[in-house]
Amino acid sequence: MNLRESMGIALSALRANKLRSFLTLLGTIIGVGSVIFVLSVVEGLNRYVSEKILSAGSNVFWVDKFGEAMNEEAFEDALKRPDITLDDVDAIRLGMRHAAAVVAGGQATAPVRRGSKVARNVSINGRSAGYDVVEDLTIERGRHLTDLDDRRRRPACVLGPEVVDEVFPGTDPVGQQLRVGNRTFEVVGVTKAKGKIMGVTQDRFVTVPIHSFEKYWRSRFSYAIYIKSRDQATLPLAVQEARNLMRARRHLAPGRPDNFGITTADTWMEIYRKITGGLFALTIGVAAISLIVGGIVIMNIMLVSVTERTREIGVRKAMGARRRDILLQFLAEATTLSLSGGLTGVVVGVGSALLVSVVTRLPAAVSIPSLVMGVSMAAVVGIFFGSYPAWRASRLDPVEALRYE
């Protein structure tokens, strides 16, 4: 009852002066709001990323020259490594027992042209057969590239749907010719649209046989070897196998580091987690500062309130209130204040997360634990910063307090 009374006092004081209440609680609102906002956005991104990246190629990893070179120094070291050649790819393909597919990959960028229609900045993907399995590509019309296309050095290509839209609007491209860079290719197939991942289109490419790619674009950099393991369970085995094969091929003595990189979807998830983790840490910092400032403001308001109500405290003590009763009363008031800020912060955070997800199409997922966390943070702020004013109130001498004007 005393608790309910205290909460009532706090709430009516809040209602009595709305602008002051808003300013008082601004820090708490921002602190809780930003945490809820970022948690929601990060949670949404997590779901999105694990859906898009993990589901598509969870059994796929690749061997390349650089691996996960996260800084300039590592990158410069990696530059000195030997290139991965198509012979390397063939050797791995022959040696792998746990692989469902081993595919050579080369990458270039070139404009694609048919008559007056031009698509610029198209990814030219050189691929050996089996790329459809590794890249999870389905054909919409026509057919995929085959090993025969590659061996016969046929100038055949498969288009991503975005290229089709730009270069073959309203017509069926299968069987037609187009210029890729300054070479002519025949379209044999079109893939199904995959959409965007993190705002990057997955449909703007021309896939050509790997030997044609080597002939015309002569990959400056080394090739990548895409490997799909038989299933999720054999993935670690396949990774180890590929690593051993590469090391044997390069005569690396035991104890010497790899002079190539292996990247799995897990690696990507790890990088991604590092980024979101950084974002999260930053938010926690901002939230912590806002909450501390918010808490200090609440403490200040509570100190003012204790002073204003000195006489009331005296009366309550004369009526038999113990120190504990006064302490709890003011703690309850401070906590009610900060909880009001916390709940407002939750509304603001959820609102802005939903707004962002509507405007930018970034997914946002509001999770119940984040809401609970936000509200409890506010409660902790109230209790922590309300303690001192409440303690002061409880220690007032009843005679002095009753005499206070």
């Binding site: 009331e312 009366v315 009526m319 209130a321 009843p398």
Partner: protein, 235 residues
Amino acid sequence: MLIQIRGLHRVYQVGSEQVHALNGVDLDIDSNEYLAVMGPSGSGKSTLMNLIGCLDTPTQGSYTLKGQEIGKLSDNELARIRNQEIGFVFQTFNLLPRADALHNVELPLIYAGLKHEDRRRRAREAIELVGLTDRIKHKPNELSGGQRQRVAIARALVNRPSIILADEPTGNLDTHTGEEIMAAFGDIWKAGNTVILVTHEADIARHARRVVRMRDGKIESDTRQPGHGAGTGSP
């Protein structure tokens, strides 16, 4: 004996100076007495009231209330005594401004730990006793001075204390309303309560059966007045 005071001293430290607000007071008060403490300001009557009301503890000497030595009690025990044994009535009423009459009267019962329904019932009874049943939902600023003091009296009575302690209860009221309030105290006394008034007005003090005059922290005189009819309780 309800109250027994022996050699009571209260010394305040004001800056570097020691002020002897009470300088050796002896006083016995029986149950159902109607007593007025008089004296000019600075005579120590407020200090004496604070000590009797257990708001303060003596520097030296002994004060026993119902056989219990007050000077030895902890803060929580003092709070309990104030709650159970003392009913305060103040010059400035000291009602909670945001609470209605009923809630104000309930206050001592909250700290006594009574259940909600019991509190409501007893607070209503106390308000009825002071004749304010129709003002039960009014806040202090919606009540006249006399009505506010009646609410305060109801609050003082609600927990059935041993002593009603009133500090200049008519100081903020006009003469007519003051007389009404004094009549109310007379009724309370006749109902068997012990009433202690602190006042500097002789007109108010004459309502009491016994008048204790103070000067310079000491009791100057202690006289019993005849007339006015007697209480119903002990002699």
